[in-house]
Subunit: 212 residues, 2 copies
């Protein structure tokens, strides 16, 4: 189980998230064993793709039998590095921040929001789901207390570079950016851009192409 | 400009969304001409990638000069099928719905929200940013009035299949699903799943792999 690859294609990572979701749901339903074909069907893909994706992370399953649901779920979580708690700070108080705070993975503390910050002084001091919003300028001073690893930017698209700099100053090395603003970061820092626009574009493109 | 491809890789579509964002921002700043190298730099990629991506949609640009910013922006929008208004209904009133309603592309009416629905009777009748929330059961009866093309599901993950069936009944052929629930749909219907979890997983994976 140890020849873990260092580069995982994005499409594989996306499917891993789906596999994990499905495996956890199966586990809750009491299912203990599943074939790659069955898992593929549940995840809108096929057995060959499941086997290929899992091969990036190691060898799983029992030939002719399938995968033990709980074991596979734990193995995937461990491979992805999510078998522990990650400390995250949210920057930008608004509907997206609220939606995130109510997300199951956040509430289950895989990603634990240890602080909420904003750049807008009129929002600082307000409360969001019981958490007091602090000024982003205070983040650095709270570094040793909060130990933030991941910064989630749900602010408006202005001042994103300033926010990123404050996050890096406080030791953050992974950033989830919900704004479309592209920001350069030093080596060893990872930024992920969440954008659902391209999903809408894909729909428009497909619907336009298939109109008779 | 006519040898438009029918299959566009997902990564290309994602970058097209970024190119469009950057081109529109350049256009607002009064920039009229840009090289593929410059556009690549602005979009965290390179000139060769820009040229390769654009080739899926046709021939653009003037050799040795670059692209006319506004012309390219219009050509991309036309290729993606977003040079017109798309009529969308939102199902599931909550923070994500509010966040979406405030999104620029929604407010600029590329994607015009023509109705907000919910399955939860306690939410029906409430108002969200001035729009009255209707019962999803009423959608079919409003089909000829609303003419919905796209359905955006921001509800809880329960009853998603039921919601999808109501959308299809009302003529919707494109679905943007913010829940992780996988739903089978008939031929000719397109479903896009928006999931930011895999972005967090990518961060965890990268941060774990690069920890010393």
């Amino acid at each position: 189980m140890n020849f873990k690859s260092n580069h995982i294609p994005r499409a594989t990572l996306e499917r891993m998230a789906v596999y994990l979701e499905v495996l956890n749901s199966l586990s809750r339903d009491g299912v203990t064993l599943i074939s790659s074909e069955e898992l593929g069907t549940f995840c809108n893909t096929n057995g060959a793709q499941v086997r290929k994706d899992l091969a990036y992370f190691g060898e799983f399953g029992v030939r002719g039998l399938g995968y033990y649901v709980e074991e596979l779920s734990h193995a995937i979580a461990s491979s992805l590095g999510i078998n522990r708690e990650w400390r995250a700070v949210l920057v930008g108080m608004g509907h997206m921040a609220r939606s995130l705070l109510m997300h199951r993975e956040m509430r289950m503390h895989t990603y634990r929001i240890v602080g909420v910050f904003d750049i807008d002084p009129t929002r600082v001091g307000q409360e969001i789901l019981g958490i007091k919003v602090l000024n982003i300028q205070e983040l650095k001073g709270l570094e040793s207390q909060l130990k933030p690893e991941i910064g989630i930017i749900t602010s408006r698209p202005d001042h994103v570079q300033y926010i990123v700099n404050r996050l890096l100053d406080a030791g953050v090395r992974g950033i989830l950016n919900f704004t479309p603003t592209r920001v350069p970061v030093p080596e060893g820092v990872f930024v992920e851009y969440v954008d659902y626009l391209h999903h809408l574009y894909a729909l428009s493109f497909n619907l336009s192409s298939h109109q008779s």
